[in-house]
């Protein structure tokens, strides 16, 4: 077990201009922590992980594992284990051979390897499949073998590169919980890459959001949700995503359609005539005619059972699209015009319209 640190680490691909896939990443991962790297495709999250694994060169800065600088160390000497998106099992070896391969390479005695493989197999419910080849396994079983191969090595850090994206939705949710529980039990520092913000929020102790190779924010899931540092994080975290609309600012607050949204205490809007306003779908609600609100024409209703999400445009401004969470039992119908208002004033996020940085506190 060990802590991991990226110190201004960059991966630059030569070209004209050079592509900075990961740009001066500084990140501290504590011992035993489950850190999730999340971001859209091309955000550099996988590259960051591969730099830690030693599969990508570190062009600038350094990376340490357990206080040891591993920037120039061979992958096999970094004491890490990696789970690949494609699982990358050895097709010509049985499950047991796959899991014990690393130990056999280290010339660990056969009996010891067999014992450790058996332990890991029990943990992962693979005991019955130890003599099978990967091609005779289902997707979920292959995924578990890939996990087992990592566990058997007892590394100081687990690296996981989208290990669930080849599973079907139901199995993914199940395996998600299993991996989180397993990590809790083993207490091994884990760095987990995903593009799925739900996975990130449910599994990570902390979540690091990346975009275009730049770290946007690294915080606990709750903090990311409640206090996103910029408009990108605000829009990326949460499902459905936060409504981000441009609103003009007056003395009463921000105007959205006919609706006045009193701005937060401490929000420095003085320099701006306009701000980017962030409203979570659950911060909006249906209101009666006597309450302050604005009209929304419903263009799409997504019914999820307990809740329903209304997609629509604000009356008088068809560019301002909003998503509103309503009670799932009696949702308005398509094409209907409804009146919506804000739940509580302190649930609006305010961002600078140009830089996207958070203004409200």
């Amino acid at each position: 077990m060990a802590e991991v640190a990226y110190v201004e680490a960059s991966r630059v691909y030569p070209g004209n201009p050079p592509v900075r896939a990961v740009d001066k990443l500084s990140l501290q991962v504590n011992d035993g922590e489950f850190l999730v790297l999340v971001g859209p495709s091309g955000s550099g999250k996988s590259t960051a992980l591969r730099m830690l694994a030693g599969l990508e060169e570190v062009n600038e800065g350094s990376i340490t594992i357990g206080g040891r600088d591993v920037t120039k160390v061979q992958p096999k000497d970094r004491d890490i284990a990696m789970v690949f998106q494609s699982y990358a099992l050895y097709p010509h070896m049985t499950v047991a051979e796959n899991m014990g391969f690393a130990l056999r390479l280290k010339r660990v005695a056969k009996a010891t390897v067999a014992e450790k493989v058996r332990e890991a197999a029990e943990m992962l419910d693979l005991t019955a499949y130890l003599d099978r080849k990967p091609k005779a396994l289902s997707g979920g079983q292959r995924q578990r073998v890939a996990m087992g191969r990592a566990i058997v090595r007892e590394p100081s850090v687990f690296l996981m590169d989208e290990p669930l994206s080849n599973l079907d939705a139901k199995l993914r949710v199940e395996t998600r919980a299993n991996i989180a529980a397993l990590q809790q039990r083993l207490g091994t520092t884990t760095i987990y890459v995903t593009h799925d913000q739900v996975e990130a929020m449910t599994m990570g102790h902390r979540v690091a959001v990346l975009k275009d190779g730049l770290l946007q924010q690294c915080a606990s899931p709750r903090e990311l949700y409640e206090r996103p540092e910029n408009a990108f994080v605000a829009g990326f975290i949460g499902s459905p995503s936060m409504n981000l609309v441009t609103a003009s600012v007056s003395a009463d607050g921000a105007q959205l359609g006919g609706l006045d949204i009193p701005l937060l205490r401490g929000a420095e809007t003085g320099a701006h005539d306009q701000v980017t306003l962030g409203l979570r779908p659950e911060s909006l609600r249906l209101v009666g005619a006597d309450e302050p609100g604005t009209e929304l024409s419903v263009e799409l209703v997504e019914e999820l059972g307990a809740d329903a999400y209304l997609h629509g445009t604000v009356a008088g401004d068809s560019n301002q699209r909003l998503v509103v969470r309503v009670d799932g039992r009696t949702p308005p119908r398509l094409g209907e015009k409804v009146r919506i208002g804000v739940n509580a004033a302190d649930q609006a996020h305010v961002f600078d319209p140009e830089t996207g940085l958070r203004i409200s506190d």
């Binding site: 096999k76 690949f84 494609s86 990358a88 050895y90 097709p91 690393a102």
Partner: protein, 308 residues
């Protein structure tokens, strides 16, 4: 994509476009089957004819070429084996082809693997030099090759083992002759192997050598078997190179093809056609057996289960 099951629209109607592709592929399929059948006949009939004729007597052969032999004259085979020296040539061929193919596969697979998976300066140049060897007509090389091998034979000590009239000389030339296609084919094959598996092996602690022998080579098994068959058959049937490299003075080192040619040439006086056909059958049979045995081991999709 399956052409057997026509795609259906939501209402269960068959889309017209798919009917068209299906019809034309059915027509093409029919044509290709006819072509394949004709081709198979062209190849199989002469082989069977040679095999049948090897049991006939000279008289039977010239009376009716298509007749069935009156009795199984195995004497043709034993005559070819003993008087034609085919037994000796057979062993020589096995030795030369085994060593030649083994050397080709070891060197070729290693070269192809490095060219396919390790980017370095000049990799493409080396690859193209190999590929250029494919376009080089062997007749053009014969004379220089003869002198090169003769000169190598002058090297004190080892020269006698790798020069003219030696097994070593033939084996080395076979390897050189087979490498271009082997490297060309295997480079393409190694490129298709999944990179994450190699990366997983590196993280698991494989050195480059171990990665090759314990992970990549087993994964490349279908490709290696195919090209091995190709090389065995190619080197087994090689005539021109041994003709140049193994002279009449080294008749004890001759390969099968030379032996058969010898029977054919001398038979123009003694006219022992059945013995010639017996010798030919002896040369062909092992190749058919090798092919059938190896073919069983080519499993399509050996890498299935590695990824996804």
């Amino acid at each position: 994509m399956s052409i057997d099951a026509p795609a259906r629209t939501g209402r269960g109607e068959i889309e017209p476009a798919n009917v068209n592709t299906r019809r034309s592929s059915g027509f093409l399929g029919g044509v290709s089957h006819v072509v394949l059948f004709v081709w198979a006949v062209l190849i199989v009939v002469p082989i069977i004819w040679i095999f049948v004729s090897s049991f006939k007597s000279n008289t039977e052969l010239f009376t009716n070429a298509w007749s069935i032999p009156g009795q199984l004259r195995t004497g043709n085979w034993s005559r070819a084996f003993s008087e034609g020296n085919i037994g000796r040539f057979f062993l020589n061929t096995i030795l030369v082809v085994a060593a030649g193919t083994f050397g080709t596969m070891v060197l070729g697979s290693m070269a192809a693997y490095v060219l396919a998976r390790y980017p370095f300066r000049g990799a493409r140049f080396i690859y193209f030099v190999f590929v250029a060897g494919l376009a080089f007509p062997v007749f053009l090389a014969l004379t220089p090759l003869f002198f090169v091998v003769r000169n190598i034979g002058q090297i004190p000590g080892i020269g006698q083992f790798i020069g003219l009239d030696s097994y070593g000389g033939v084996i080395l030339v076979y390897i050189a002759y087979s490498l271009p296609f082997t490297v060309f084919f295997l480079t393409a094959f190694f490129r298709t192997l999944p990179t994450p598996v190699a990366e997983a092996a590196v993280i698991d602690g494989c050195s480059n050598t171990r990665l090759f022998f314990r992970v990549m080579m087993p994964m490349a098994k279908p490709g290696l078997i195919s090209i091995t068959i190709f090389n065995v058959v190619g080197q087994w049937n090689q005539y021109l190179l041994p003709l140049v490299l193994l002279s009449g003075q080294a008749k004890d080192k001759w390969v099968l093809t030379q032996g058969i040619a010898d029977i054919a040439i001398s038979s123009s006086y003694r006219a022992d056609w059945p013995a010639l056909f017996a010798a030919l059958s002896m040369a062909i049979l092992p190749m058919i057996i090798v092919y059938v045995l190896f073919q069983r081991h080519i499993q399509a999709g050996l890498t299935a289960g590695a990824v996804k």
